[in-house]
Amino acid sequence: MANNKLKRRLNKNSFHQLTSDPALFIGVILILASLVLFIVYPLYAAAKLSLSDDGVFSLSQYQYIFTHSYYSKSIMNSVMLGAIVATLATFVGFVFAFAIAKGGIKGQKFFQPMAILPIISPPFMFALSVILLFGRNGLITAKLLHMDTSGVYGLKGLVIVQVITMYPIAYMTLVGILQAIDPDLETCAMNLGAKRIKTFFTVTLPLALPGIFASWLLVFVGSLTDFGNPIIIGGEFDVLSVRAYLEFTGMGNLPRGAALAMLLLVPTVGVFFIQKYIIKNKAYVTITGKSSRRGSSSVTGVAKIGLFIFTLGVSLFVIMFYVTIISGSFIKLWSVDWSFTLRHFVYAWDVGFTTLKNTLILATISTPITAVLGMIIAFIVVRKSFAGKQILDFLSMLSYAIPGTAVGIGYILAFNKAPFKLSGTAFILIAVYVFRNVPIGVQGGIAALKQISGDIEESSTNLGASTAYTFRKITLPLVRPAFFAGATFAFVRSMTAISAIIFLVSARWNHLTVLILAQTEIMRLGAASVLSFALIVVVMAFIFIIMKLTGLKQSQIFGTTK
């Protein structure tokens, strides 16, 4: 067929583009090689170990896991926790998104940051707070209510903590979708006789449904792969990520630990594919026609008050956790001696200064690398065509789908011997940060570059501008927000990482979050509070500086792009 012939010719051309542009060729080869080495190879190493018994291929590890309730229980627990948290967090995120995008509640300046605040928090800051407030010596449970309880450890505590940690994921997924729903549609429904509540259920909610589904899946995966919260507050409630870690490092049962981590991979990769190939095509096509974009009061006064109270309640709850951590830093012995002290700071300085410094150094090194690499890959994917482009696109996004626990185990297995002996070095940590966070930069970059149609660049060239000039004056300014958003995310995620790096830290290169975990485990909660406090301050300061230097707004950095 002529069509096929054309296709073949295009393919030939695209291969030709690669060979005729040596810089592009070398660049693509280098990037592909590094993606294979740092994403595929470790995964392969972990998978191989989990599938072998004394060097021969075997499914015995998996068989063992599924036939022993000790392990299969943790799978059940993880799934159950994930489902509960996904449902609740999506609900909370939806209410926030609805209140902000459609409800027109007062105090948007306060609620918008509150809707995303928890994502910049250290991984188990909320778990720590919950222990201080509701634990055995908790301020609220023990002191105010005189309850003798350890009930906060386990499912209940985990649900609270993960919902608070993850509702921003739901919010960020949903707010853009709700904003994109043409207000004319809701106005029109009312015009046709639907009361406000009916309008919500027949128009707004159905249109948000794909987003709700996406959000549920994202949070589900987030809960499943969470390591920081369950290790602190999980108690007897065993989940997969913690089980894998304990098995691998505690018991030294490497194959079983690897197999447990591989099991985490199944849902995450599944969701990754659903996201990439199903939900994308499910989104409702926008219809032609110019919208007035004018809302009409589609929320009743009572509903508005309800939304306000709910979002305020959640916000105050979140703030309470922050206040608890900060107070915990200054209190001599929580629940026993409430007097003011600075001794936790002194102690934290002693044990934590070097770690804080090293954590910062590594995050600062890896952030620009991540952002630049992400933008380069995005640029190649959007603007160049050559055979194998899909592979580049796929690989660069894949690490998004791999749970940290699997990455950590994979890295240890892959890089502990020649020819890639990296364990114990700073390099391995930087590699983890870069390759785990690069998908965010790639995604943002692709979205930004796609907005700039080739036409804009061509018309600039057409007006006589050189390619370099076009890039500097047209392309660069337009991708700038995406670049800094990617950089900010990379930094925050590097600073607050735990699930992968806990396998990779060494005495020389420790990470602050791992140190906080250690302090919590030995019940030095004051010091843990101080270190968490320090981490929050560093992250906030970084975001503040980026916003001041670049003039970008919160919504541009934590954009509504999914």
Binding site: M190, L192, G193, Y284, V285, I287, G289, K290, S292
Partner: protein, 365 residues
């Protein structure tokens, strides 16, 4: 006892809308307008973009609460009636079709809300689909239809409710020119057939002229003139209306004498009389004269008026000339007789301009 009065079906009284952004900035979008609409009439709000048409319509529909003023429908004050209880379906500029519902479900939406039986819904939707020529598309989604078809779905969704009044907000502005003309006859036909009162917003004068029983010209939130299409076209009461509705040419003139019925003005040294209007003028005053292009021609013989040709466009039955006259540009229209060749003028050439002087209207400058 309430008296039904079909001459005062929809009444807007002193209607005003002031938007404030909460930071002390206020925009008066609609400024104290009063309007009476007869039952069964097709009434058009016409005016340039931003003059407050949509805001007026949205107040009538109840989407926006007026700052002052009253809206009365069929002798009942409806100021406080919720939008979903007003039963005044509106056709949106964006069509506002529900993208997650099929065409059938879109059209049936209002009927379902009214809890009609499945049978009735099916019948009514089928009838309306027939009427607006949508048969066979019922199971498609809006995204799968062309712009013209989407527009008809929006219309059907409103008509199926058998409303007494229907609101339109620039429903044709997203269609291409040919379809626009087709659809406006369609709308007019259906409106007359069903005897529905229509309040129609547009910024397109030919749409307004061809469809309306009454035209309401709006300017900066106020009503500039109300009247039938002929009245407005032939007797615009202000230079704004003259300009907007007739694309009038404006030329500078000076008042030389004021008579009892007419005013003598001077243009390019020629004096002639124009009809007096309500406006007061004084001798020696600089004024503007408006004249429609079809009352201006280009002449081969001297007429006393000369201009400089800028561009000529041959359009088949007519030729349009753009002429620099005094300090402004005017448009002249020459009817071409079939078979005769048109005389060609060069750009910048001096030409004689022929005004049908009885069509001049005088306005304050």
């Amino acid at each position: 006892m309430e008296q039904k009065n079909d001459n005062e079906y929809l009444v807007l009284k002193d209607l005003t809308k002031i938007f404030s952004d909460g930071r002390g900035n206020e925009v008066t979008a609609v400024d104290n307008i009063s309007l009476t609409i007869k039952k069964g009439d097709f009434v058009t709000l016409l005016g340039p973009s931003g003059c407050g048409k949509t805001t007026t319509l949205r107040m009538v529909a109840g989407f926006e609460l007026q700052t002052y003023g009253d809206i009365t429908l069929d002798n009942k004050l409806i100021n406080n009636v919720a939008p979903f209880d007003r039963n005044m379906p509106m056709v949106f500029q964006s069509y506002a079709l529900f993208p997650h519902l099929t065409i059938f479900e879109n059209i049936a939406y209002g009927l379902k809300i009214r809890k009609l039986s499945k049978e009735v819904i099916k019948n009514d939707v089928a009838m309306v689909s027939q009427m607006v020529n949508l048969v066979g598309l019922e199971n498609r989604y809006p995204g799968e239809l062309s712009g013209g078809q989407q527009q008809r779905v929006a219309l059907a969704r409103a008509l199926v409710l058998k409303p007494e009044i229907i609101l339109f907000d620039e429903p044709l502005s997203n269609l291409d020119a040919k379809l626009r003309i087709q659809t406006r006859t369609e709308i007019k036909r259906v409106q007359q057939m069903m005897g529905i009162t229509a309040l129609y917003v547009t910024h397109d004068q030919s749409e307004a002229l061809s469809m309306s029983d009454q035209i309401v010209i709006m300017n900066r939130g106020e009503i500039a003139q109300v009247g039938s299409p002929e009245e407005i076209y032939n007797n615009p009461n202000s230079s704004f209306v003259a300009d907007f509705i007739g694309n009038a040419n404006f030329i500078d003139a000076k008042v030389s004498e004021i008579g009892s019925k007419s005013i003598t003005v001077t243009v390019q040294g020629n004096s002639f009389e124009v009809k007096k209007t309500d406006e007061e003028f004084s001798e020696g005053e600089e004024v503007a004269l408006a004249i429609k292009p079809e009352a201006v021609d280009i002449s081969l013989e001297p007429t006393g008026f000369t201009g400089k040709l800028d561009v000529s466009s041959f359009l088949g039955s007519i030729t349009e000339y753009k002429i620099e006259f005094e300090n402004s540009f005017i448009i002249a229209i020459h009817s071409n007789t079939a078979g005769q060749t048109v005389k060609h003028f060069k750009m910048g050439e001096e030409v004689y301009v022929d005004f049908k002087k009885e069509f001049f209207r005088i306005y304050k400058k």
